[in-house]
């Protein structure tokens, strides 16, 4: 075996060792925490929605006000330095709800504010949220296209 081959074999062997010794995540615990954190956020969202539903003429207005309230709450908790701890605790349970999206924009905005209002905050606000918006729109277009084609096929 030449020297390079020995090195490659050594690296492969090491990769196996690293993988084997990597700390195993406690999946049931992580899932339960994600469920509790995500569930609590959704519970709060439902509570806010019910509140507005009783006071608004249509469901559309109630939904809009619920989204605005939850986004504001996410931004506020980010500014207070609470939301990153929710993320540490709940993982995707904190990231997936709309409050998590609000956090990703607010966190970037707070961070890059220090490089100025234009090239800092405004330009880099979408660093984390950008892909969600781009692929959200792409997925929306594709879904709309498929739905239209299906409707046409059905006559």
């Amino acid at each position: 075996m030449d020297r390079d081959q020995t090195a490659i074999e050594g690296a492969k062997d090491y990769a196996r060792l690293v993988a084997q010794w990597a700390p195993k995540p406690n999946v049931p615990l992580l899932i339960s925490r994600a469920f509790l954190v995500g569930g609590s956020i959704c519970f709060a969202g439902q509570f806010v929605f019910d509140y507005f539903r009783q006071r608004q003429p249509t469901e559309v207005e109630a939904i809009a006000l619920t989204l605005a309230t939850m986004i504001s709450a996410g931004v506020l908790l980010t500014a207070l330095g609470v939301y990153d701890h929710l993320g540490e605790l709940g993982g995707m349970g904190a990231a997936v709800p709309i409050t998590g999206f609000a956090n990703s924009m607010a966190a970037a905005a707070i961070d890059f504010r220090r490089e100025g209002m234009v090239l800092g905050m405004a330009a880099k606000m979408f660093v984390i949220a950008g892909p969600v918006i781009v692929y959200g729109i792409v997925a929306g277009i594709l879904t709309g296209l498929v739905a239209t084609l299906l409707r046409l096929a059905a006559g």
């Binding site: 090491y14 060792l17 010794w21 700390p23 939301y83 993320g87 966190a107 961070d111 660093v127 984390i128």
Partner: protein, 336 residues
């Protein structure tokens, strides 16, 4: 010509230079950790009154450097070179500090291995007769590293158990031919090693092969074994990297046993929950210049092998799918 070289990689000084003054200035989290009482000063506000963490990091570096000069009892004019490095792009914390210190500056980059690289170069300059005294400094800051390498601070991110927390603080030392303090007797500058670890969240695994390589080369060059040292300090392999390192060293026939200590695994207590431990240029620097120097002064350790490790990736190389190269630079500290 090469009378000061032993073996293939190691330098043995003919008149070992001394560390005649050192200062460690750490953040609040580090001050509350198990080694808190060893640090020379703690700054309670990790932002140190600044709006931008980059400015705070600079302050940690410069203040540590100035206080190290005081400890050594010398002024800027008595020092011939200022060797400094940090984790920021273009090592700005070092160069901006050099701007106000006004000492001829040698900038170095070795990520978290900056401490032993800086001290090694300083010792070579002094023993080579190129300098009377050299000031060495480094700093790191949790927020600046997060911003540059990872995500915005307030983002909802769940840390991996192998993640390391970048230590906040500055550490500096004066290396001189004359004076009181432990001697730097040997230096082994390491090779850059890459065994294909692509996970930037597992820097300990990326650096362990480099630590093993430099350690074995040092043993080989100087014909020593773990028995010749009271302490073998690595940094910052952290908890999981240290396990891998000890395994790799064991496979090469050496057992370190209770003599091995890792700076990254020692800076925080498990209750402080920093994942696998600490990292950052100041981590190994502060453990070496605070804990090790003070325990050497008490006589607990007489001969210490310090192996600071650095992970040489940046945010771009990680995104481009490259693996993380590691490096490790070693030096031997001796009493007397």
């Amino acid at each position: 010509m090469t009378a000061k070289r032993v073996g293939q990689f190691t330098v043995q000084f003919s008149q070992p230079p001394r560390i005649v003054g050192a200062f460690t200035l750490m953040g609040p989290r580090e001050g509350q950790g198990p080694l808190g009482k060893y640090f020379d000063a703690i700054v309670d506000d990790y932002m140190w009154g600044e709006y931008q963490p980059e400015k705070a990091e600079r302050k940690f570096l410069e203040h540590a450097a100035r206080r190290a000069l005081e400890r050594a009892g010398v002024s800027e004019n008595d020092v011939d070179y200022f060797i400094a490095g940090d984790l920021m792009n273009q090592i700005v914390s070092s160069t901006f500090s050099a701007r106000s210190l006004g000492i001829p500056h040698i900038g170095v980059f070795a990520a978290c291995a900056t401490s032993t690289l800086g001290l090694s170069l300083a010792a070579m300059l002094v023993d080579g007769g190129f300098a009377r005294r050299v000031l060495v400094a480094t700093a790191s800051h949790y927020q600046t590293a997060e911003r540059q390498y990872r995500y915005p601070i307030e983002l909802n991110i769940q840390r991996k158990p192998t993640n390391q927390w970048t230590a906040t603080g500055g550490a500096a030392a004066v290396v001189a031919a004359e004076g009181e303090g432990p001697r730097i007797s040997h230096v082994t500058v390491g090779r850059v090693m890459d065994w294909g670890v692509k996970d930037a969240n597992h820097m300990g695994a990326a650096m362990a092969p480099a630590a093993m390589d430099t350690l074995l080369r040092h043993f080989q060059d100087t014909n020593t074994t773990p028995a010749d040292f009271d302490l073998i300090l690595t940094g910052d392999l952290a908890q999981h990297g240290s396990k891998l390192f000890r395994e790799l060293v064991k496979r090469e026939g050496h057992t370190l046993g209770g003599k091995h200590m890792d700076a990254g695994a020692s800076l925080y207590s498990p209750e402080q929950q920093p994942g696998a431990g600490a990292s950052g240029a100041v981590c190994s620097a502060s453990v070496l210049l605070a804990y090790v120097l003070k325990e050497m002064a008490k006589g607990r350790y007489r001969r210490v092998l310090a192996l600071a490790t650095g992970c040489l990736h940046n945010a771009l190389t990680t995104q481009q799918g490259d693996s993380c190269p590691g490096v490790c630079h070693a030096l031997v500290l001796e009493n007397g």
